[in-house]
Symmetry: C2
Subunit: 346 residues, 2 copies
Amino acid sequence: MIIKHKSNPIIKPGDVKPSIEGYKVLGAFNPGAINFGDEIVLLLRVSEGCKTREGYIRTPVCRFENGMSYPDIVELKSSDPEVILKDTRSIAYKGQEYLSTISHIRLARSKDGINFNVEDKPFIYPADETEKYGVEDARVIFIDGKYYINYTAVSEDSWATALAITEDFKSIERKGLIFYPENKDVAIFPEKVKGKYIALHRPNNSRFGKPSIWYSESPDLLHWGNHKCIVRPRDNKWESQRIGAGAPPIRTFDGWLVIYHGRGDNNVYSLFCLLLDLEEPSRVVRRASTPLLAPTEPYETEGFFPNVVFSNGIAEKDGKIYVYYGASDDSVNVVITDINSLLGSF
Amino acid sequence: MIIKHKSNPIIKPGDVKPSIEGYKVLGAFNPGAINFGDEIVLLLRVSEGCKTREGYIRTPVCRFENGMSYPDIVELKSSDPEVILKDTRSIAYKGQEYLSTISHIRLARSKDGINFNVEDKPFIYPADETEKYGVEDARVIFIDGKYYINYTAVSEDSWATALAITEDFKSIERKGLIFYPENKDVAIFPEKVKGKYIALHRPNNSRFGKPSIWYSESPDLLHWGNHKCIVRPRDNKWESQRIGAGAPPIRTFDGWLVIYHGRGDNNVYSLFCLLLDLEEPSRVVRRASTPLLAPTEPYETEGFFPNVVFSNGIAEKDGKIYVYYGASDDSVNVVITDINSLLGSF
């Protein structure tokens, strides 16, 4: 049985301190998750906009100067005819595009997996032009003493996936773009299979096909090849538009367990279980025909971008599986379950 | 001085035998090129449609059975209300999409670089579902006794780039997809730089930015990483829409010489020179401000897809540079020049 935790949402925008005075936290969601010491660490996606000011449109920007970066605000007069509101998410002004929100990655720590302390400062903040429009949706794995974090880097060249390494969740070393645009939803396996690192990823499709889950191999986590499309959207109401992998896959006796998301009719996001072959992870063993989790609760059906459940972080604790998920691009939530329940849910 | 050869077009669709009875060769264009023995070998893109039949719409398809593949024809009644002509290039029927043409790669050989013998049979023909809609625009390099060929593989999952190896231009060994969708215009450098293979490639942009030239590194030609966007379209009439690399770059004393294409206003394609740093090929040294070559002659301004010049193959012979280029998705043409003229053209 999959039960949404009674304390949901466990982290809300109001629990997060803005990066600077004048910013407003609009979402704390889509967390990566990992065990670190005796804690569970979440890598929250924190999206921020600006506090309003009468007669002005204010938009957050990242400034890059002398190798340093910092958050700032662009203020435009609402009456300026050159200000064009493209949709709720972006503004065009004199050939420049601004987003109404920019995301960074913030850490939150917990001993029980439910009650989290959110840090005051960003952990991964846009560092250069390749991350100009924000860093989003971190996934994290632990290999040989190091934590490998991949995240979506958004820029004027569209969205791609970057890799960074930390050993202490204090400093990070950036390793650049490992998947070029347009690509997101990268889930790297936590161990090699037959001598190779494996990742699932999600290229974009603009003409043929629909955004699907792809498989790739790497000798070193930096260079990726042998790309294969392995799971495509199905013609049902939950997956009619696109699908993408979630948290790093979990090794079970039956296969690699993946929880993926589908965007279906009316832009509703749901979560599904998928099982990949242990030795040949490009081979699908089992695929759930109905969602594991769909938006039903008010915190899932209302909010910044309603009717979205999206998971990119899972942790284990005392034999239980903590599936963290973002709801409505707004809050962090959790389902506590176990491997047998997940394997039995197909 | 860049002079289009007086014998242009040097290969026309009529010079190419169809793959099967019932097909019609519509284009022989965009050739890869390489020196092989005392010959120049072109890897032609041959596009084929079907001969017409009154009252029917006929479309070429690749059949895959028992590990073999072969060309075939689908015939639909024009009067069938379920047949939908989407544009001149594709047909929809009962949820299935068909292209009006499918491309394969055909060899042509020449001792003088001008007069070519086109082989009767395809050299690279779609082998599986990842190439279902055709193989296009080959580039070829020679490293340590082997010829590495990359080409665009088009399928229901969109367009991507595949790698194959040959030693004799008779048999090929396929190495799978090296760049996932949507990606084309992959130009691999003919030697390592600082111990790494280098490629230029061209991801697609559907929302932010315009299709641009990206840089990547690889330890083995199979796995690619460290992706960087290095050259973007400029706001001029020749490059307003998109750009992409052409043939494998040529090492010169001044840097790596690249001839790239730009698609500008009214979908006109032109060719430009670009120079990349010898030691740091992600660094642009020089970029031409006007085209090296633009469509002006009747064979470039008329044809299957008019006003296109597109180069993906260059060969050297007796100190001269033979820049082969496709015109109007129709024919093969050549400019004979030399390195100094190209370097002096900026």
